[in-house]
């Protein structure tokens, strides 16, 4: 962007691209970074707990709340019948705050208890008895598919003639596999604190990625205008998509009670309740047919995706779309037909989770590539390279977007040569030839991930910057901090604009009272959108300052330079503080909003055609595993990653996102297994049964490299790229490596591997004593 207002040098150039620390790091390590449960409770604060359904589907015959109501310390019990505007939802208002006449999933909130303390509320919740006339639930994807239980008509995306191409192809194979869901397991469970202020107005602290949506739904439920409600989010103890839409219910219930009692009301879900009540990553059943030539070039492909969405609409449509958008991953598919089914089931409503359907789509094509390789008995790496998108031809996605920034060929070649891929493959083969009980597996898989909300209107953001008389800067923007380091990145952008040290920029808690109508901090878009909006706000303030300086110091615009907390004004150098103070006394407006909307994007949903993504982020990962063929146990021994973040604003933060995203993705595909019983009761409701990765799962050989000397093809904030979601999909290489190891085993049936590749899952692909 041409800098018309001024120049910023020295500090500026070192701030962008420096590994400035997370703005709360020092507070985190001292335990004094407050989360909602840590905010000193205003006097009189009451607490909420929920009574949950213990049936997956049925009619509510009666709810007995007498005992709970009479318990010591209980103030009141709320039921659906007490709530006038009962339904909320991210897209459709189809989620009752409390179950109304029927329960639709095991763990659905039926009653809310208000009491003096969290413990009393919980105990009282267990005293509520709900009589339910059970109906036959639809729990699994297969059940939903056979009963045609869908939220919406299937969605389709196609290019060329897939069916014809498969028929004509020299080889064709087909198959199906299952990809499990994933519990977010953010360490801080859903929380809210609603504080009545005056005249029916409320301040609501919500652990949410989406303060504006919480505000919007509160206004709806409380039946008051949005300007009566301020929703504030200072920080979340993790979110990963799980606080994009699922944070509203608890905030609404707290606010309803606060409105009734005129007292502050707080709730933090016990872990079990959180896991039962809220949605997860969608699990998918994937069926495919693919036709290819003898070298493995894909001629035609058909993939059907059936996603378990749960009982309500939530964000499922966009999630299933994103699965289809990523079913090509980095491969040119001239004849492709993808179809997505949104299965409506009696389970909690599945929701956003880092990658948002993309990972499932990508896993589908990577699995297919591996199957082609196994069919042709060649190294899958060759098949991958053969099918990669190219730069001047073979560069149109099945949804019509021309890929203009493709670096996958060079990126994958770079990691292959850095890691000595060919030698590693040979080593693995030699080892496996000699080893009967232990097999190694190796996989190098690419990631191409589309950046932008696929709903165009969400791609906008606002910021508000104040420079106070003492030269300190207060930055507000619409993005929320959930650990990803957004606040420090946007602060770096602002410090850079004014050539000041980072400490001078204070980032405020995200608040609907400061920046309105924001989008969720999601889709990896946080720094792209809010960084640009903040920069715009800086530019507007600088414009005011230029006008002032030109007159006051009789200089030209390009003679103003912000540097090292000073301002060079022609030949004169004064401190930034003095400059600001002088501007104030000369009546210069020292605050401004800023605004940004992503350019170039458009998408026609009906024809599944357009340019939904502003750009793509790329990466590749080489994983090596060793599998015990007797027990199905395995260990991830080596990981090498090369990832593209454009010109990084903060490599330290980006490194953390890559490493953390990878391990989270590995958990999804390896040890994290959600299990329901036949009646639809979720069995994995805590850390003792739902196993997210622990420290020993992090491989010792774990080389992560940010692709050097690179830059975003598009004009993003300082030419950086989004980093939140894409690295999660690097972990697909772990699952593929396990599959690869199985394929080396004598009787291995690699095609049968589903995700997650639990030890049991791997075991039965290797062994069956009943056969």
């Amino acid at each position: 962007m041409a800098n018309t207002n001024n120049k910023s040098t020295d500090i500026s150039s070192s701030i962008i691209g420096s590994s400035a620390l997370h703005e709360s790091a020092s507070m985190h390590v001292q335990g004094n970074a407050p989360y909602i449960d840590d905010i000193p409770e205003p006097s009189g604060t009451l607490h909420v707990a929920f009574c949950l359904s213990n049936k997956a589907y049925g009619k509510i015959k009666s709810i007995d709340i007498d005992k709970a109501k009479k318990a010591n310390g209980v103030h009141s019990v709320l039921l659906a019948e007490d709530i006038e505007h009962l339904n909320i939802g991210a897209i459709r208002l189809d989620e009752p705050l409390l179950a109304d006449k029927e329960v639709l999933f095991y763990g659905q909130a039926v009653a809310a208890i208000l009491a003096d303390s969290h413990e009393i509320a919980r105990k009282a919740a267990s005293m509520v008895s709900v009589e339910i006339e059970e109906l036959e639930p639809i729990i699994t994807i297969d059940q939903a598919m056979s009963k045609k239980s869908f939220l919406e008509e299937p969605i389709k995306m196609s290019t060329g003639n897939a069916k014809g191409a498969i028929i004509k192809a020299t080889n064709s194979i087909g198959g199906e596999f299952y990809v499990g869901g994933q519990e977010h397991y953010y360490l801080e469970s859903q929380s809210a604190l609603a504080i009545p202020t005056e005249n029916g107005e409320l301040l609501v602290h919500s652990s949410t990625q989406n303060p504006s949506e919480v505000q919007h739904l509160l206004a709806h439920v409380l039946n008051i205008p949005q300007h009566c409600i301020e929703v504030a989010t200072r920080r979340m103890g993790g979110a990963f998509g799980g606080k994009e839409s699922d944070s509203s219910q608890i905030a609404c219930i707290c606010a309803l009670f606060a409105q009734q009692t005129k007292l502050p009301v707080k709730s933090k879900l016990p872990r079990r309740d959180d896991i039962l009540m809220t949605g997860k990553r969608h699990d998918f059943k994937i069926e495919y047919q693919v036709g290819f030539d003898n070298k493995g070039l894909i001629n035609g492909i058909i993939i059907d995706f059936a996603a378990r969405c749960g009982y309500s609409f939530d964000l499922s449509l966009a999630i299933v779309y994103r699965a289809l958008f990523h079913a090509d991953n980095a491969y040119y598919l001239p004849n492709a037909s993808f179809c997505g089914y949104m299965c409506k089931t009696n389970t909690s409503s599945n929701t956003a989770f880092r990658g948002f359907g993309g990972p499932q789509g990508m896993l589908a094509i990577e699995n297919i590539i591996e199957e082609i390789a196994n069919h042709l008995s060649v190294d899958a790496y060759k098949i991958r390279k053969l099918n990669f998108y190219q730069n001047n031809s073979n560069n149109i996605t099945p949804y019509g977007q021309v890929i203009e920034d493709n670096i996958i060929n060079e990126l994958v070649s770079e990691i292959a040569s850095d890691t000595g891929y060919e030698r590693r493959r040979k080593d693995v083969e030699e080892f496996n030839n000699k080893s009967k009980y232990i097999k190694k597996g190796l996989a190098l898989t690419p990631v191409k991930f589309g950046i932008s909300f696929t709903k165009k209107f969400l791609n906008q953001a606002g910021a508000l910057i104040h420079i106070y008389k003492d030269g300190s800067i207060y930055l507000s923007h619409g993005g929320t901090e959930m650990g990803q380091g957004l606040f420090v990145k946007v602060a770096q952008v602002v410090a850079n604009e004014f050539g000041v040290e980072l400490d001078r920029v204070k980032v405020s808690a995200t608040s609907t009272a400061k920046v309105p109508n924001t989008s969720a901090t999601a889709a990896s878009s946080g720094s792209d959108l809010n960084g640009m909006a903040a920069k715009d706000a800086c530019m507007r303030i600088k414009k005011n300052l230029v006008a002032f300086a030109r007159k006051r110091y009789n200089i030209k615009e390009d003679e103003i330079v912000y540097s090292n907390s000073h301002v060079l004004l022609g030949g004169k150098k004064i401190s930034f503080n003095k400059f600001i103070s002088s501007a104030y006394f000369n009546r210069v407006e020292l605050f401004s909003n800023g605004y940004y909307k992503t350019p170039k994007i458009h998408y026609d949903e009906i024809n599944a055609y357009g340019r939904p993504f502003y750009y793509y982020s790329y990466g590749a990962c080489l994983s090596e595993v060793v599998v015990d063929c007797l027990t199905g146990e395995y260990k991830l021994t080596k990981v090498d990653i090369l990832h593209d973040v454009g010109a990084s604003i903060n490599p330290g933060i980006d490194y953390g996102q890559i490493v953390g995203g990878f391990i989270q993705g590995m958990g999804w595909l390896c040890s994290e297994e959600l299990k329901w019983d036949d009646s639809g009761k979720l069995l994995t409701t805590g850390a003792s049964t739902y196993k997210i990765p622990s420290i020993g799962d992090t491989p010792e050989h774990f080389n992560v490299k940010i692709k050097p000397d690179t830059s975003n093809h598009e004009d993003t904030i300082h030419k950086s790229k989004a980093v939140g979601e894409p690295p999660l999909m690097l972990a697909i290489s772990v699952w593929i490596a396990i599959k690869n190891a199985i394929s080396y085993a004598e009787q291995g049936r690699a095609s049968e591997l589903n995700a997650p590749a639990s030890f049991e899952e791997v075991f039965f692909c290797l062994n069956n004593l009943n056969n």
Binding site: H22, V29, I438, G483, Q484, L630, I663, I695
Partner: protein, 491 residues
């Protein structure tokens, strides 16, 4: 009823607290909000703190610092000890070296798990003079992080020790002598029975210091809950919302904290923690090391007892199968009567034991292996660290001139109690070197057990993987080493 808290010199008085209160509840009710609640079940470690305990060995008196899950530990268990939380590390504006390293290495993202990691690292800092990846993994095995992928935290741990020699001494090292004498002072306070009264309910709490005292109190109050480490009982309070009316803390019963080690057997007092029993167990049975490393997590091992692991009679406890395979006995006491029961007969039904009313486990007698005996233990779980077994198998064999003549095999996770596989024992004696051992083992296992399908594994996996573990053991016996995946980092 006093304990030391962080850098405060004045002991905290716990008079008036409900004996059911956990340490975390106490902390947060008193506005010490640094320790977080992530799971309230001892699984995630966000609430981790460190407890300093006075240890006297002969003339040597020192403070041992151990990490603890405050969410499931009862606050009254802190009496006479020193509780250190994340708020107690920095001195004024100066961060503790552990905190500095975590900041420098980008060890926090969302920050919610961070206080727990900091405290586990603080315990590591106090307990080790040098570091390697095994020690780091072991000490942080009870801390879950969902953001960082752990790598930055591992980097932070290395950083702490890379700089340790140049670092300033922390408050607790500087004030060691003062803290020892403070702890001695509050330990001299007599252990009196305690009764908590709230409106119309009374809750009794006793912390006897001698076994006779315990025996007589328990005989008088056979309904009382005995608690040692509390790592299982704490869950009843935080997850089942139970409130116990009578609690007897056995953690301070001197006779039950001893270990006797001779050529024939080891006798372990029922209140001995895994932490304290570690060295004698691993010395006597080196094969146990890998299992013990996977036994729950570091903070649980610090406080949980072998006695508790037996008394709770869980079908999926990891130690009972091992102890049964080793033909261990439990010494039970009621009043002044003592009897010995073979551990295999101690478990009588799902979470039911042979204990009579008012009877408790005094100690466990573990016979040592003779020169012609060998032991193997295998654990199958979904995750290597801090996970409950789908199957835990312990196998002891006796050989004569290199030929297997007898076996004793016990399983956890295969039945409603920890149990021997008698058919399998017979089968392997006659088929140990048979090429189809695995199928024969499988058929025998099907006679021995009808395991359940549950969240950890299907019945079929439990049966089949057990047969494969027998095969793996036999391979190992014939010197074909198939490595334990849990133990390898590179291969």
């Amino acid at each position: 009823m006093h304990f030391l808290f962080n850098q405060s010199i004045k002991p905290v008085d716990l008079a008036g607290v409900n004996p059911n209160m956990t340490v975390l509840q106490w902390l947060r009710q008193n506005n010490h909000n640094g320790s977080k609640e992530g799971c309230a079940a001892g699984d995630c470690g966000a609430c981790t703190a460190v407890v300093g305990e006075l240890i006297s060995t002969g003339s040597k008196v020192f403070i041992e610092y151990k990490s603890i899950n405050t969410c499931i530990a009862l606050v009254l268990n802190l009496v006479g000890k020193h509780l250190i939380t994340v708020e107690g590390l920095a001195e004024g504006d100066k961060l503790h070296p552990v905190q500095q390293a975590m900041v420098q290495a980008n060890g926090s993202q969302c920050g919610f798990c961070t206080p727990g990691f900091v405290m586990s690292l603080f315990a590591l800092y106090h307990n080790e003079s040098s570091i390697d990846l095994d020690k780091i993994n072991e000490s942080l095995s009870g801390n879950l992080c969902r953001c960082t992928g752990y790598k930055p935290i591992i980097n932070a741990a290395f950083l702490i020790f890379a700089k340790k020699s140049q670092c300033h001494e922390d408050f607790y090292i500087k004030n060691n002598a003062k803290l020892i004498s403070s702890l001695q002072e509050i330990n001299e306070i007599e252990n009196k029975p305690y009764c908590y009264t709230d409106k119309n309910k009374k809750i009794y709490y006793n912390s006897p210091i001698g076994i006779d005292q315990l025996a007589s109190i328990f005989q008088k109050h056979p309904d009382a809950k005995l608690i040692a480490g509390g790592s299982d009982l704490g869950l009843d309070i935080t997850q089942q919302l139970k409130e116990f009316e009578n609690i007897i803390n056995i953690q301070n019963v001197a006779e039950m904290k001893t270990i006797e080690n001779n050529n024939e057997y080891i006798q372990i007092g029922a209140a001995v923690s895994y932490h304290s029993a570690w060295s004698v167990l691993v010395e006597s049975f080196p094969e146990l090391r890998s299992l013990l490393l996977r036994f729950a997590s570091k903070p649980i091992r610090n406080w949980a007892t072998i006695g508790g692991n037996i008394a709770n009679a869980s079908p999926i406890g990891d130690m009972p199968p091992v102890l049964i395979a080793l033909n261990s006995l439990v010494k039970l006491r009621k009043g002044s009567n003592v009897r010995k029961v073979n551990l295999q007969d101690f478990f009588v039904g799902y979470r039911e034991t042979a204990l009579k009313e008012g009877e408790f486990i005094e100690s466990i007698l573990v016979p040592k292996l003779s020169s012609n005996e060998r032991l193997w233990v295998h654990k199958i779980s979904k995750r290597y660290e801090d996970d409950i077994s789908a199957v835990c198998m312990a196998i002891k064999i006796t050989t004569d001139d290199g030929v297997l003549i007898e076996s004793r095999i016990a399983f956890g996770g295969m039945s409603d109690i920890p149990k021997r596989a008698k058919q399998l024992e017979k089968t392997i004696v006659s088929n140990w070197t048979h090429k189809d051992l695995v199928h024969k083992a499988y058929l025998a296992l099907k006679e021995d057990f009808s395991p359940i399908d549950d969240v950890r594994a299907t019945s079929e996996y439990r049966l089949q993987v057990s047969a494969r573990l027998i095969e793996k053991t036999a391979l190992n016996f014939s010197s074909i080493m198939v490595p334990n995946m849990a133990e390898i980092r590179h291969y």
